[in-house]
């Protein structure tokens, strides 16, 4: 039942995109997000879609798998769409009761929906092609200059690593406990909201207990191996940018330039 969740799931293929330095991919993703907010008409979407399709093609991750990440967000996207259709001022073309659908609304709703979809797809490429560990490594390196103003870069990265590391474990645990309680006749699927919420108690109590137990054990294991924060810590894998990264960054920069030019000149 948790198999549909693909956001944040690493899909190893060993492609050029996978081999890139995580910092490159994080920066490129940020650039893509900025790009999505620079544009204000439909036409520049063509550049972004082409860019995303190109990256997906090079990464060798099946396009269908990337798009599966949208599935859990379809309600949110639909909701944004409807809100935008009805909540904008302009030419009324259709109305039910107090709600008016406007031409501008539909235009804006479509624009927003595409932006949301591209945001999700763009960022899920990052997590699909970057293992959680190298992702947090990259974030730590990028945050390093901020240490001077008191940002605890290493601690943040470590917290993220642990959180990401335990998502699959907790999902597995949830599924296991659910099965165990279902075998004892528990019902998680039928009934009204209140009885469903009550039905979750046999799942949540053991889940919390095991989460705390795991946290405790992990803290103990880390201390037993003399873990102590970021000071003077060396890395097993030093991050290094090479020619591939330069090409990737240049391509992304080019996209950003095109988008800016399109917005200001055309």
């Amino acid at each position: 039942m948790f198999k549909d969740i693909t956001i944040g799931q690493y899909y190893p293929t060993g492609s050029y995109v996978h081999e890139l330095d995580p910092r490159t991919k994080i920066l490129a993703t940020l650039a893509l997000i900025v790009g999505l907010f620079i544009i204000n008409t439909f036409v520049p979407y063509i550049y972004i879609v082409a860019f995303i399709l190109g990256v997906v093609y090079v990464s060798k991750v099946p396009l269908g798998y990337v798009l599966k990440g949208l599935k859990p967000l379809r309600v949110l996207i639909l909701f944004t769409f409807i809100i935008n259709v009805f909540m904008s001022q302009g030419d009324i073309i259709w109305s039910i009761g107090p709600l008016n659908a406007t031409r501008e609304g539909i235009y804006k709703a479509l624009f927003m929906a595409i932006r949301l979809i591209l945001l999700v797809v763009g960022t899920s490429i990052l997590t699909l092609t970057t293992s959680p560990i190298s992702l947090t490594d990259g974030i730590e390196q990028l945050l390093n200059p901020m240490k001077k103003i008191g940002v605890p870069a290493h601690e943040l990265a470590m917290m993220m690593t642990i959180a990401l590391r335990f998502i699959p474990t907790l999902l597995e645990e949830t599924e296991k406990i659910m099965k165990a309680q279902m075998a004892r006749g528990a019902d998680f699927e039928s009934g009204n909201v209140i009885s469903r919420a009550k039905g979750l108690v046999p799942l949540l109590v053991p889940l919390f207990i095991s989460a705390f137990r795991r946290a405790d054990e992990l803290a103990m294991a880390m201390e037993a191996r003399c873990y102590r924060g970021g000071e003077n810590r060396t890395k097993m894998k030093e991050l290094k940018m090479d020619r591939g990264d330069t090409i990737a960054l240049a391509t992304t920069a080019l996209l950003l330039v095109i988008l800016v030019v399109h917005r200001t000149v055309l």
Binding site: A180, R184, G185, V205
Partner: protein, 287 residues
């Protein structure tokens, strides 16, 4: 309750790079009232197989027929199946959640929709079976008990549902030797008392040799042997090659035979070995 598994295949994560075949073309028939030992190395598919028995996992292909009803059909009500097939998972104490021992054991029977008096009786019976003192423990929190007691509460929670088929996935893993023997005895008592079908998943050849009528051996998602412990434990070489081996006492008997002590070859419990060795000593005296 008879169980018939036909051409059962199960694939994890189909269509993703993590696709793995957990079960391949399994065919098993289990008679009503049998005590089955299911053994196999880690990852051989035992746990996946038993979860099929009460519909927690749907097979990729194949059939599971319980008492003449194919439970893979969409029209079958799974709650009816789960009422009849009880499943004790590995480390079942991780599923405890109620405030008191009594309430936790009563959770299953309550879901069956039984009356208060019936539930009360069942909780008492289940606690007696697993040798937990009812009056002393009924109002204690299950979380403050010892590991062995927690395990017993969790097992009692499934016993109290009085399943016609009881499946236990390594019920003794992580227990000390004494508690382990006690828990196994309790399972045996339950089987003798209610004549229900029991499937015991285990790593321990000793436990299996001592308790069960029939052993099913799994390897890489396939059933490779099925027969009485006597028949199966004859295949020492094959069992060893898949990382299982035979009960330790059988090794002792083999070693003794090498020293020209004439014993029967198919011995796999300590009791039998004792009898045979005594017999040998007596016959030697007579000479």
């Amino acid at each position: 309750m008879s169980i018939k598994i036909e051409n059962l295949t199960y694939v994890y994560n189909p269509g993703s790079p993590f696709e793995t075949k957990a079960l391949e073309d399994i065919n098993i028939e289990i008679e009503s009232g049998e005590f089955i030992g299911l053994i196999g190395h880690t990852g051989s598919g035992k746990s996946t197989l038993i979860q099929h028995l009460n519909g927690l996992i749907k097979p990729t292909s194949g059939k599971i027929v319980i008492n003449g009803i194919d439970i893979t059909e969409k029209t079958v009500k799974l709650s009816d199946i789960r009422r009849k097939v009880g499943l004790v998972f590995q480390y079942p104490e991780h599923q405890l959640f109620e405030e008191t021992v009594y309430k936790d054991i009563a959770f299953g029977p309550q879901n069956l929709g039984l009356s208060e008096t019936e539930i009360d009786q069942r909780v008492r019976e289940a606690m007696e079976l697993v040798k937990l003192p009812f009056d002393e423990l009924r109002d204690r929190s299950p979380f403050e008990l010892s590991g062995g007691q927690k395990r017993r509460v969790a097992i009692a929670g499934v016993f109290a549902m009085k399943p016609e088929v009881l499946v236990l996935d390594e019920p003794t893993s992580g227990l000390d030797p004494r508690t382990r023997d006690e828990v196994l005895d309790e399972i045996k008592t339950l089987h003798d008392r209610y004549k229900n079908t029991v499937i015991l998943v285990s790593h321990s050849m000793e436990d299996v040799a001592k308790l069960v009528d029939r052993v099913i051996v799994m390897h890489n998602g396939k059933v490779i042997f099925s027969g009485t412990p006597r028949e199966v434990f004859k295949e020492t070489e094959t069992l060893e090659s898949i990382g299982l081996g035979v009960p330790q006492i059988s090794y002792l008997v083999k070693a003794l035979k090498k020293k020209n002590i004439n014993l029967r070859e198919d011995i796999f419990t300590v009791e039998e070995a004792k009898e045979e060795i005594l017999k040998w000593i007596r016959s030697n005296k007579n000479v």
